[in-house]
C-alpha cells in the first residue's frame, strides 16, 4: 500500500512538471481548489483579527524604544478591539491601494482587480500566496500584483476562482528595475532568505543608500514603469566585480500581506 502511494506521488510529481497547465494533474488541482478556496477564504477572514493581534504583539518585541506606549495599546487590544483594528487596517490598505492607482502609474486602460490573500506557502523554499480571484475575474498569467505600498509580485498559476502569486522575495523572482533619481538599471531578485537585491547595476553608476527602486517598464517587461519596489539599504562594490551589490528593503510588508490588486493590462 505504502509503495503504491509513493509511486503515485512520484508519478503525479513527474506529470505535474511535464504536462501543460491544461493537463490532467493541473485540471484536478484546479477542480479541488474550487472547493477549497472558499473555505480558505472563510478561515483567513475568521482568523484575521487574531493574526493582526499576533503581528501587533510581535512588533512590540522589536520596538523597545516605544515600549511603554505599545504596552498601553496592547492593553487596548486585550480589551477586545482586535476586530475593529482589523477593519481599520483593511480600510487603510484599500485607501493606500486607491492612492497608488490615483498616482497615475498604471496606463489609462489598465483595470485593477482587488483580491484577498487566502493562503501562503508554509515552507521557507517558496514565497508564494494564493489570492481569491482568478481567471473568472479577468486575471491572466504573469499579471502584476500590487498593494498600497508597492509591487507585490506576479501571477504564476491561474484557476477559475483563485490564483497563485509569486512574491518578489521568491528566489526565482526577477524584476526589471531602476533607481530613482538617476535611472541606473538592474534586476531585482529575491532569495531563499526573503531578502531582495538589485543585480547587474553597472559599477560606474552612481547609486546611494536611501534612493528608491521602481519597476523600469522596459520593452518586454511584464511590469509597467514606475511601480515602487523599495529603498536602497546598502551598496557594495568589490574591485574585481563588474556590477554593484545593492541590498533593497521592500516597501511591501510581506508578513502582513492581506489585500492586493492585480493589474490587468
Amino acid at each position: 500500500m505504502v509503495g503504491i502511494l509513493l509511486l503515485l506521488c512520484i508519478a503525479m510529481f513527474t506529470l505535474y512538471f511535464r504536462e501543460s497547465d491544461s493537463g490532467v494533474v493541473h485540471g484536478a488541482q484546479g477542480a479541488v481548489l474550487r472547493v477549497v478556496a472558499p473555505l480558505q477564504n472563510g478561515t483567513a477572514r475568521a482568523t484575521k483579527p487574531f493574526r493582526d493581534a499576533w503581528n501587533w504583539t510581535a512588533d512590540l518585541f522589536s520596538a523597545k524604544s516605544e515600549n511603554a506606549k505599545l504596552k498601553r495599546e496592547l492593553e487596548q487590544l486585550r480589551a477586545g478591539v482586535a476586530s475593529e483594528l482589523a477593519t481599520q487596517d483593511e480600510n487603510a490598505q484599500l485607501r493606500a491601494a486607491v492612492a497608488l492607482h490615483d498616482a497615475g502609474i498604471f496606463p489609462g486602460t489598465a483595470r485593477l482587480v482587488t483580491a484577498r490573500v487566502v493562503a501562503r506557502s508554509t515552507t521557507a523554499w517558496y514565497s508564494t500566496v494564493t489570492i481569491d480571484a482568478g481567471g473568472d475575474d479577468g486575471i491572466g498569467l504573469y499579471d502584476a500584483v500590487v498593494n498600497g505600498a508597492g509591487l507585490v509580485g506576479r501571477v504564476t498559476k491561474l484557476e477559475a476562482g483563485a490564483a497563485q502569486v509569486t512574491l518578489i522575495t521568491d528566489q526565482q523572482s526577477y524584476v526589471d528595475s531602476m533607481v530613482v533619481p538617476g535611472g541606473a538599471q538592474g534586476i531585482i531578485s529575491g532569495s531563499v532568505t526573503g531578502d531582495i537585491t538589485m543585480q547587474y547595476v553597472d559599477r560606474n553608476e552612481k547609486v546611494k543608500v536611501g534612493q528608491y527602486v521602481v519597476t523600469s517598464g522596459r520593452a518586454g517587461s511584464i511590469f509597467v514603469r514606475g511601480i515602487p519596489i523599495g529603498q536602497i539599504e546598502s551598496v557594495g562594490l568589490q574591485e574585481v566585480e563588474l556590477y554593484q551589490s545593492i541590498s533593497v528593503r521592500p516597501f511591501v510588508d510581506f508578513r502582513k500581506l492581506d489585500i492586493v490588486q492585480v493589474v490587468l493590462p
Partner: protein
C-alpha cells in the same frame, strides 16, 4: 506525561478497515489541519518558524491508528496542501506518506512505555520532512544554502513542532477516541 496508546489493550479486535464514523472523523481532522496549515499557520511565526500543523496531525493520526492509516492520511493531507497552495503536486504527499508510515510503524513495533512518543515522533518526522523537502528543492535547482537550512529552517521547526506535539496529540486523540484499532502489530 502523555498516556501511551500502544500500551492500552483495545477492547475491540484489531481491524483493517476503518469504520464510516472514523473515516468521517479523519476527514474532518484532515480538512481542519489543511485549513490551519494554509490559511493560519503561515501567518504565525514563533521561535523563527511557522507551525506545521499538517505534519504534526499526520504523525498523531499515525501514532493512534497505525502505519497504513498514517500513510493514506499523509497522502491525502499532502495532496490537499499542495492543491490549496497551488504548489507542485505530489511532493508534500510523498513526504507525508513517508512520515505517516514511519510514525505508524514506530507506534506498532516500538516499546513506547516512556510516554513521550508523540514528542519523539514529531521531532523525528520534522527532521525527515525537512531533509526530504530540502533535497527536493535541490533537485529542482533551487537555492538550498546549508547554513540557512539548518539555522533558519530545520532547527526552529524542530523546536516549535516538538513543543506543539503534546497539545495537538491530545486534541487528535480526543477527536479520534473509539473507532477501533487499526494498528497492524501492537506492543503490550
Amino acid at each position: 506525561m502523555i498516556p501511551n496508546p500502544a500500551r492500552t489493550v483495545p477492547e475491540e479486535e484489531p481491524r483493517w478497515w476503518p469504520s464510516p464514523a472514523l473515516v468521517a472523523r479523519l476527514g474532518v481532522i484532515l480538512l481542519v489541519a489543511v485549513l490551519l496549515q494554509t490559511a493560519v499557520a503561515s501567518n504565525f511565526r514563533i521561535l523563527g518558524a511557522n507551525p506545521d500543523f499538517a505534519l504534526i496531525v499526520v504523525v498523531c493520526v499515525a501514532l493512534l491508528k497505525g502505519s497504513e492509516t498514517g500513510a493514506i492520511f499523509g497522502f491525502l493531507t499532502g495532496a490537499l496542501v499542495a492543491v490549496a497552495l497551488m504548489e507542485p503536486f505530489g511532493l508534500s504527499a510523498f513526504v507525508f506518506v513517508v512520515v505517516g508510515f514511519v510514525a505508524g510503524r514506530y507506534a506498532e513495533t516500538a516499546d513506547l512505555s516512556h510516554g513521550f512518543a508523540p514528542l519523539v515522533s514529531v521531532f523525528v518526522a520534522t527532521f525527515i520532512a525537512g531533509v526530504l523537502l530540502a533535497l527536493a528543492q535541490f533537485l529542482l535547482a533551487r537555492q538550498v544554502p546549508l547554513g540557512f537550512f539548518l539555522g533558519r529552517v530545520l532547527v526552529p521547526a524542530l523546536i516549535l513542532n516538538t513543543l506543539l506535539a503534546a497539545p495537538l496529540y491530545l486534541v487528535v486523540r480526543w477527536w479520534l477516541r473509539g473507532g477501533g484499532d487499526l494498528r497492524a502489530v501492537r506492543t503490550r
